[in-house]
Symmetry: C2
Subunit: 331 residues, 2 copies
């Protein structure tokens, strides 16, 4: 981006701020009702408005990402924060990560059980520790010291997710079915933003997979796999985490944009629509370029997704067949 005077920068900023979110790939029409669709759309619009408010006030991309993800974590509809899926032993185990593309600062937490908004702990790790990634009890000790809000683990519990675990446990003797069930419920949430100074940020938060065990860590808390941001691009992924880990999906998308000159659409398509399904995985991602280009690739029947631009009007969609106009990239 060319250097501009302060006055121009503000004007440019108002024209080019953008925020995109996802509430998870793997949405299946058969499991939805008109009521659940309406609720999901309303929740995404609320998250977009909260994030946009930060951008409109001239705050940073990471503020917008944090604000949007906090809304999605608080909504029991999504598999993050309240409403997270259950592990094999009946707990909610949460992961999150955040990255500031302007500075390459990053924070991530894995396997926490009492942190109300894991994205806020990821941010505290980024801003108030010397580390990038903290896990388990140690991460919660850090949360307590930082004054990050802790709750009783029962806060995360929803009856719907509990019943999903019971079904998964019943089906466990039928390995193939159990695997499908687990895959279906990967409704991770995430956000990417570009602020009025052209800075990018990305964040992701999840409860992981239903019936997960052995302290499984997926891609969401792994910088480079589920989340990445630099000066060229910001990415948050949602899908079968093992595949995202094996290709460092978010980092590959950003390297393709930064080093190979691919657009957000090209890079997102190459990794999400070709490489990962080619290996047998599935899922989606939200991709934002430095020029404001947004791509929302996925290879499942649906992905909760949306974006909001300078005019403050939220745009959301659920299924692959939904029409969703994307913002025009600008320089």
């Amino acid at each position: 981006m060319a250097t501009v005077e302060k006055g121009e920068l503000t004007l440019l900023g108002e024209q080019t701020v953008v925020l995109a979110i996802h509430g998870g790939a793997g949405v299946e029409r058969a499991s939805m009702t008109p009521e659940s669709e309406t609720k999901a759309r309303a929740a995404m619009e609320l998250a977009l408005r909260h994030g946009y408010e930060q951008l409109k006030q001239g705050r940073s991309a990471k503020d917008a990402v944090t604000a949007a993800i906090t809304v999605l974590e608080d909504d029991p509809l999504f598999n993050a924060g309240r409403g997270a899926v259950f592990t094999h032993d009946g707990r909610n185990e949460l992961d999150a990560s955040l990255m500031d593309g302007a500075t390459l600062a990053a924070g991530a937490v894995a396997g926490v059980h009492k942190v109300k908004n894991p994205i806020l702990l990821a941010r505290a790790v980024m801003e108030h520790s010397q580390h990038v990634m903290l896990a388990g009890d140690g991460a919660e000790q850090f949360a307590a010291e930082q004054g990050v809000s802790l709750v009783d683990p029962s806060y995360f519990r929803t009856e719907r997710r509990w019943q999903e675990l019971q079904r998964a446990l019943q089906e466990e003797n039928h390995q193939a079915q159990a695997t499908r069930e687990a895959i279906k419920h990967f409704g991770t949430v995430g956000a990417v933003a570009r602020d009025s100074q052209g800075r990018l940020a990305a964040g992701t938060s999840t409860g992981g997979m239903t019936n997960k065990r052995y302290g499984r860590v997926g891609d969401s808390p792994v910088i480079g796999a589920g989340t990445y941001a630099d000066v060229d691009c910001a990415v948050s992924g949602t899908g079968w985490g093992e595949y995202y880990l094996r290709v460092s999906a978010a980092r590959e998308i950003c390297l393709r944009m930064g080093r190979l000159g691919e657009s957000a659409t090209q890079a997102g398509r190459a990794v999400i629509e070709d490489e990962i399904p080619g290996m047998g995985g599935d899922g989606g991602a939200i991709v934002l370029g430095a020029n404001g280009e947004v791509a929302l690739p996925f290879n499942t029947e649906g992905m909760y997704r949306g974006w909001i631009g300078a005019d403050g009007v939220p745009h959301v969609a659920i299924y692959a067949t939904d029409a969703l106009t994307l913002p025009t990239a600008s320089r």
Copy 2:
């Protein structure tokens, strides 16, 4: 690589198998004695011979990597397995990862306290679970179920590392010194190999940083950061993990080789000698190309490092000033 008949393949294999290892960057001459140098060289030669034995018998690159790392984990000299550094609360907390470049299969474990050889657990995760990364108690439960050897946590304790923790704790009021101390002791171990069929693999194992706390996870158990392998390249890193995480160092090296056509030397230099020190980090890596090219870049005073080729003669070095001839790449 061109397709060849079986007879030729064996011949080619004998000519082109290669294994490289590191025992950690950050070696400082002032803290070494002639005796400790001799011990380190002997340990590296032993690890190289054990790994080479696998390759000579026609076994896979991942077998060679696993064998070499097991030797380094068992030696109390290195910060991995026995002899690992201590956490703030006086425990040894171990991380490891392994990746098979031919299949992109990967396994990783973070924060285990009782697994004798964490690299063997990483391998069990890769081969016997549906997951890539397991952490903490859950990872140890998986180890027990898989019959991976468990030991009493006291097995890992060495007096030298304990005294290092005591010094770090004493210096903690002097933040700058404590930070330097922690950085100095990042002697992670790792290996990369190319087998007679041209398959690549990479692995890394570590005890992390002295005086680490809050369940800190570094780059070593993170696929894409401390370890990566694909058809183009195999990488294991050792250094200030937070920086390796923030650039997905191993994945970036492999993408540079695979997509930009850089050599192992070029890609290793770009990330290890330019990008990471440019951000304020330090460390090293071992990089192996599909053509057998080996690069051992680092930006510290020394890095325990070595390689062994088709003739079975180990070559090892410690300081940047040590002469070390590298194998010639071949097609």
